[in-house]
Symmetry: C2
């Protein structure tokens, strides 16, 4: 399946991700009609203006009844309500996917609403930013991004095949993981870092922030993300995030002990281990990040 044959798609949630998906679909599927569903007409109007969607709907039932594909792109907490709303209206051969950042709860919800072998494939295209709204949507947002698919044993093969074709056509590299493994990994590489970015903004006083440098700006960039989206991510990955918090806390208390003991060799060993790990696994900074002199 090199080509995508989609005539009518419904995107529920017309924010940065939903809007970008609309733009990207129109690039690889000329002639496709993209229906946008949302809570607020103003957000939908923004998505219409950027050309991300072709029609706006406050109710998902009507557009879903005409669609080959329905994509959930709202905060994860709203998925269940929308799945219940579209279920009675799904066409034969239609399938449903999502772009949520947690997968175990999503997969459980979809199985409960659409049935364990329902036409649903849970997906996590790892693209986006802390910017909010369809006005920041980009047709190339998914280009080169990793998309993690988390099917279950009961996910229909035909739907899985369509999911693969969809994200490949949009330029993604694909990976496949069990939902629980996805959530544990993401807790450590994304959800905990996001939580720390927010907590780091709570400590400094206004006077402290006057002497902040680019380091703090980089480290708190994620704290600019939408609070509702991240509330849902945190709540639907509570187990993973709690485990990551406890792991971090152990390291934090270890560092605290080293400092209290004045153990310079121990502190240096820890920092050197982290530095090497980063150089090896996340590549060298010197290619991508010139010495920064940027002031806040």
């Amino acid at each position: 399946m090199a080509k995508l044959k989609l005539q009518h798609v419904t995107i529920i949630g017309a924010g940065l991700l939903g809007g970008s998906l609309g733009l990207a679909l129109k690039r690889v599927c000329p002639g496709v009609h993209v229906a946008g569903v949302g809570r607020r007409q103003s957000s939908l109007d923004q998505a219409i203006e950027t050309g991300a969607i072709d029609s706006t709907h406050l109710d998902a039932a009507a557009p879903a009844s005409r669609s080959d594909l329905i994509v959930l792109a709202t905060p994860v907490g709203a998925f269940e309500g929308y799945l219940r709303a579209i279920k009675p209206h799904l066409k034969r051969g239609a399938w449903v996917t999502d772009v949520g950042s947690t997968k175990s709860a999503v997969v459980r919800t979809a199985a409960r609403v659409l049935g364990p072998a329902g036409p649903f494939v849970a997906c996590h295209p790892m693209a986006g930013s802390e910017l909010k709204g369809a006005r920041f949507a980009r047709a190339d947002l998914f280009d080169g991004a990793l998309c993690i698919l988390t099917p279950t044993a009961r996910t229909p093969a035909w739907a899985m095949s369509r999911a693969r074709s969809l994200w490949t056509a949009l330029g993604c590299r694909l990976a496949r993981m069990p939902p629980a493994a996805h959530d544990r990994a993401l807790a450590r590489v994304s959800h905990l870092p996001h939580a720390l970015a927010a907590l780091l903004m709570m400590l400094p006083t206004d006077r402290d922030l006057a002497v902040a440098g680019p380091g703090l700006r980089d480290m708190t960039r994620l704290a600019g993300g939408d609070a509702e989206v991240w509330r849902d991510i945190f709540l639907t990955n509570r187990a993973g995030l709690l485990e990551a918090i406890d792991q971090l806390d152990e390291y934090l208390m270890h560092l605290r002990d080293l400092l209290e003991a004045g153990d310079g060799a121990g502190v240096e060993r820890l920092l050197e281990l982290a530095r090497r790990r980063r150089a090896k696994r996340l590549g060298n900074n010197s290619n991508s990040l010139p010495p920064s002199r940027q002031r806040l």
Copy 2:
């Protein structure tokens, strides 16, 4: 004092900061001789190659005896040894400064070695990067950077005046703080963020890192910094960093409680508070940081 009248300067430590200082001095002080002191000839040779220094020395005594200005640019833990080495050789009218990231311990050390009213002005130009070595030195590294001066009641007025002229000539904006206030603020906006960047690299497995996105890369950039430099910063600001660790731990445990209780409203409130605080105090992301699709 609009012009800098320096004929001979010794920079102890020929890394990124020391090397950049040499290049910057040559720009505003044509004809100045910059002597470079270091532990390793190879680092000094690198600084000679980039044009940051004019002569290399493994012993500080001789160049210090000829200098109008001596700058400490090694890891903070090496300051005391160098201060003792140069003290007997200081010319009349010569003064000493530093570029260290912690100030209370540095000020105490300088007072102990050079005397409480010795010709020393503690300075923290907030520039640099995680890159290491004079080969990354830049003449404009200090341009537009904030330089925090932390004089004491006994710091000689003439030396303070020269410190102001020096950093102003190099393009810095100046601020003045008591050493202890500097260290408490920097613990929250720089030293704790640095520690967390390192700890965040310790949690994920290699498999986890395969699904890491640009968020983790940004959040761990500081972990690429030199382990010895940061060991000394942590050890010379133990009180400030311990306080910041304890404050963060309180917030972390608060978030943990909210998650365990499934308190979505509480989680959202915390995230929204952090988001607003960042938007207000660290400016808007949308100007400087486009939606990132960069893969690790």
